[in-house]
Amino acid sequence: MATQVDPSMKTKVLLAWGFVGIPLAWGVIQTLINAMKLFQ
């Protein structure tokens, strides 16, 4: 049984991914900056 996804869910999904994705991306960038020292 598959159901049609509510169109308003798209915004909620986007918000939910942003909520976890933005801090994670910030952390990854910080780590990459530190990791670049390996190549200096």
């Binding site: 049984m1 598959a2 159901t3 952390g27 910080q30 990459l32 990791a35 020292k37 390996l38």
Partner: protein, 465 residues
């Protein structure tokens, strides 16, 4: 009472129109927070100077005493995942996430109190015991829910969540350093305030996950997905009761495979900085070694998603065969890279090895689902995490003691790790053999349609047809 019923499994059933893509962020809300455990070491040095402020004073805690906080947390991670696995499975993901959030934040707050009155036992209890239980419950809380929402891509789904556990340290590490810099004064080190703020942030973050998580309604399937009507190869259509899984050789073979893979990875993960500097003296500086550790943690996180997603296409057992064979080749290559002074080869070997270490964690829930069905996969996964606790002891012990043994017997520092690498390669050979013997679970272990032990959950797969 209303809050308690809000947490119940039946109140988390998704209504029509819900998108399953809301569930991975809910899982990430929990895993990104509890992944902070990998960044606990940033507090080590500041906590050795709480009295002396600029340097350790008599009465300040020693690094060896502080090391027990992490060890306790890992011990209670494995223990609580094993003990509370069935409760997590039957209570549903929201109740488990809520509990994990309360314990995680509570652990931080109690630790903050421990710092304020300078009582290490309170930190052992707060972060080590209570936080460790939060780690175990939080780690397994979204696993079976994700597998049920993504029956077509279970590896990718659990890989996303477990990737969050690897990525949690990326956020926690710079955040902790920044917070401490804000709370530090000339006469005070801001560890207590940092613990309080982090505990509150993590509580809010984990509550968001608990609120947005949903379980699929009975009989739900993604659009276009046709569930196989019978077991194919290792992928079963039946369910195995959580404690019956312990009676199967398959559980212990996968336990050994995970334990060996993690032992091999953990052995180099904790020693990468020292090992790289000693194998390439003068060429890899302490700063470059710190960069290598950062790069390795990125590959650890990326590997969790990459390998688990790949397992959806090539199969779980084959994925572990890749870990064992490729790992064997790479561990045997590291001494050659050291003796020929090939830094690039050395770094490449370590990055791939560490990606497979992460991949071992993230692929195993889907492996268990293939073998034991979906119904108790979270609880069985909880039991399997004891392999992680065991590996956490074996890995560092093998690396540290072998290095000491070699150096005391006159082996130059640059070559002291060679034997360790060959032993790690040997462990992977044993892992390959264990993985080779994993076959489909015997029918006598399958749950029957009228099995009363599973009343708290939906009908077993055998009854669903």
């Amino acid at each position: 009472m209303a809050l308690l019923s809000f947490l119940d499994r039946e109140h988390t059933v998704a209504k029509p129109g819900f998108s399953r893509w809301m569930v991975p962020p809910a899982a990430l809300c929990v895993h990104l927070c509890i992944g902070q455990a990998y960044a606990l070491s940033v507090f080590n040095l500041p906590m050795t100077k709480l009295i002396g402020i600029t340097q350790s004073a008599p009465g300040d805690w020693k690094l060896t005493e502080l090391g027990w906080i992490f060890s306790l947390a890992m011990l209670f991670l494995g223990g609580s995942a094993a003990v509370f696995g069935r409760w997590v499975e039957e209570g549903g993901p929201r109740k488990a996430m809520f509990t994990a959030g309360c314990l995680w934040a509570g652990g931080f707050l109690l630790s903050a109190f421990g710092v304020s009155i300078h009582n290490l036992w309170l930190i052992y209890l707060g972060y080590g015991v209570i936080g460790g239980c939060a780690l175990g419950i939080g780690y397994i809380s979204p696993v079976s829910t994700l597998i049920k929402w993504f029956p077509d891509r279970p590896g990718m789904a659990t890989g996303m969540a477990i990737m969050g556990f690897g990525g949690g340290a990326f956020i926690a590490s710079p955040l902790s350093v920044w917070l401490m810099s804000k709370f530090n004064t000339a006469t005070h080190i801001g560890v207590m305030e940092t613990f309080i703020v982090m505990g509150l942030i993590y509580f809010c973050f984990m509550m968001v996950g608990a609120v947005i998580v949903r379980v699929p309604p009975p009989g739900w399937a993604p659009e276009g997905y046709v569930a196989p009507t019978k077991s194919v190869g290792l992928i079963t259509r039946n369910d195995v009761f959580v404690y019956d899984a312990l009676k199967t050789p398959q559980f212990w073979l996968i336990w050994a495979v995970l334990c060996l893979n993690v032992t091999a990875g953990i052995g180099v993960l904790g020693q990468a900085s020292a090992m790289s500097q000693e194998m390439f003296p003068g060429r890899i500086t302490p700063i470059a070694a710190a960069g290598l550790v950062g790069l390795m943690s990125l590959f650890n996180m990326g590997g969790r998603f990459f390998w688990a997603s790949t397992s959806d296409y090539i199969g779980r057992r084959n994925t572990y065969f890749v870990f064992m064979v490729l790992g064997f080749i790479l561990y045997c290559t590291v001494p050659t890279a050291g003796s020929t002074g090939n830094v690039v080869l050395f770094v490449l070997c370590f990055l791939v090895i560490i990606s497979m270490y992460g991949g071992g964690f993230s692929t195993v829930p889907a492996y268990l689902r293939d073998m034991f069905g979906t119904r108790y996969v979270g609880a069985i996964h909880g039991l399997l995490l004891t392999a992680w606790s065991a590996a956490g002891i074996f890995g560092p012990v093998i690396v540290n003691y072998l290095r000491e043994y070699n150096i005391t017997h006159g082996v130059p520092k640059a070559n002291a790790y060679n034997n360790t690498m060959y032993i790690m390669a040997g462990l992977l050979v044993i892992g390959f053999i264990c993985n080779f013997f994993v076959k489909a679970v015997a029918e006598r272990y399958h749950m029957k349609a009228n099995d009363p032990r599973g009343d708290a959950l939906a009908q077993p797969a055998a009854a669903r047809g």
